[in-house]
């Protein structure tokens, strides 16, 4: 247990820092993903044929290619490309930080998944409700904000909450670029001290805490979102 104490001989502080880093990337990536997802779902449902095809390529490719490959390509090939461009322009080389790359990659990946979650949820909204919005002259944006979005939330929340939990754990991928997030520091602590069980359980507990807190918040949001929906109760 002393291994987990917060100050130096113990690794608790390192783990907490790792958690903080993970959360930073996860929140950034998730929000970016949500933005992309909203645009993507709207584009897939209401966009022109070209946009729809492009989005289909995006969601298929990004979901299909393992995140690890994406992050390596972006981090190595991408920085190379950016720096060559900078050189051509006579500018000094930039160093894309692990954090930026991480948020970007996780955001792009999450965007592809949320596009599909949101599309499914929007399709689940009874079409009449959206028709009513249009019939009264709501602009697409307004009806998205006032009607579509709140009406589809109950259908989207489970999928979106899954994505959030996946985001918190996908940060582990950034270990390949040496980004000190929770999974990596856990492995380091465990490997150094050989106290595998202790550290893996500790990390598990930290993740679980994040989940429980998230569940609490999601629960509140979901409760609000489900107002007005008659639940299918017992199968009496």
């Amino acid at each position: 247990m002393s291994l987990l104490s917060l100050s130096s001989p113990g690794w608790g502080g390192v783990l907490l820092m790792g958690l903080l880093m993970s959360l930073q990337v996860a929140i950034g990536g998730y929000l970016l993903g949500l933005l992309i997802g909203i645009g993507g779902a709207a584009g897939k449902l209401w966009g022109g044929p070209i946009l729809r095809d492009l989005l289909e390529v995006y969601t298929t490719v990004v979901r299909g290619v393992p995140e690890l490959v994406l992050i390596l390509i972006l981090y190595y090939a991408g920085t190379d490309a950016v720096n060559q461009l900078m050189q051509l322009l006579g500018l000094p080389a930039v160093d894309i930080s692990g954090l930026t790359a991480g948020i970007f990659v996780i955001g792009v990946v999450q965007g592809a998944y949320s596009t599909e979650v949101l599309r499914g949820a929007i399709l689940a909204v009874p079409p009449g409700q959206l028709e009513a919005a249009r019939a009264y002259g709501m602009s697409p944006l307004l009806s998205l904000r006032r009607i579509t979005f709140p009406a589809m939330l109950p259908y989207a929340i489970p999928g979106l909450s899954n994505l959030w939990l996946i985001a918190t754990k996908d940060t582990a991928l950034l270990a390949v670029v040496g980004f000190a997030e929770l999974t990596l520091v856990t492995r380091q602590a465990a490997g150094t001290t050989k106290a595998f069980l202790t550290f893996f359980l500790a990390a598990g507990a930290l993740y679980l805490m994040v989940t429980l807190v998230s569940n609490l918040i999601i629960g509140i949001i979901e409760k609000r979102a489900r107002r007005g929906f008659a639940r299918p109760e017992g199968a009496a």
Binding site: P126, G128, A135, Y136, P140, I147, A151, R227
Partner: protein, 272 residues
């Protein structure tokens, strides 16, 4: 019946031209896949007119209403609201598509609609449903919108249910909420799709008087209904839709007491 014939049918009424033109629908066609539902329907209404649209189930009444505000894109034809024609262009698959979304949006704010299936927003209470468009589309101050909404809800007898969600209302209550929602935007033209189907006779009377009030305010209404008595009391002009075309039209007395076409005669006789 050929096209020219229909054309004459549609424009043949003289008594409509003395007031400003509110709606003008020309030669509307609508096809769902292989099924041609509307085969050239025209209609014109002046301000303050109440036009009743009658016809068998599945004859395309709802489709026609929905084409007027472009919820359903017509295959061919044009719609003009208060002098402004909705711009359409070919969509490349033998149909039309809107050329100018903004314009449609603007025109739609002048059109109210009560849907056959109500289409209340399930995530909002009755009151929120009613004030939604006034506040968020028309930009009215919220207090004012609430005041208007409460008056309307009182009128349709739904004041006590203003904070209930639609899923917990009876059929008739939902329909009244839908009517209040459409009235709240005070549209120039109101499209009613069977607005009394779930209402008891007393409430039907109330809706009747609402429609009368609207007409007196010089608003225009198109009303789909299966209740012939109701149509007769309220309409200034009745259109009988059959087989995708206007089979017969005229003032209510003529239609109900002296129908010309065989089809309409049969239809009227079944009211007994």
């Amino acid at each position: 019946m050929d096209k020219v014939d229909r054309q004459i049918n549609a424009d043949g009424e003289g008594n409509m031209t003395d007031k400003a033109q509110a709606i003008e629908v020309r030669d509307l066609y609508k096809r769902f896949g292989p099924l041609e539902v509307l085969k050239g329907v025209s209609l014109s209404a002046s301000q303050g007119d109440v036009i009743a649209l009658i016809g068998g189930s599945g004859s395309g009444k709802s489709t026609f209403l929905r084409c007027i505000n472009m919820l359903e894109l017509p295959t061919a034809g044009s719609v003009t609201i208060h002098g402004e024609t909705i711009e359409m262009k070919q969509d490349g698959h033998g149909g039309l598509m809107p050329a100018n979304r903004r314009q449609i949006q603007r025109i739609r704010t002048k059109l109210g609609m009560v849907f056959q299936s109500f289409n209340l927003w399930q995530h909002m209470t009755v009151l929120q449903n009613v004030i939604e468009v006034p506040v968020h589309v028309l930009g009215q101050p919220k207090d004012q919108a609430i005041a208007v909404a409460e008056t309307l809800l009182r009128r349709v007898g739904l004041y006590e249910k203003r904070d209930a969600y639609p899923a917990f209302l009876s059929g008739g209550q939902q329909q009244r909420a839908a009517i209040a929602r459409a009235l709240a935007i005070q549209p120039l033209v109101m499209l009613f799709d069977e607005p009394t189907s779930a209402l008891d006779p007393e409430l039907v009377g109330e809706v009747l008087s609402v429609i009368g009030d609207l007409a007196r305010e010089n608003r225009t209404m198109i009303l789909v209904t299966h209740e012939m008595k109701f149509a007769r009391q309220v309409a200034s002009h009745v259109i009988y839709l059959h087989g995708g075309v206007i089979e017969e039209q005229g003032p209510p007395e003529a239609i109900f007491e002296n129908p010309q076409s065989e089809r309409l005669k049969k239809f009227i006789s079944s009211i007994h």
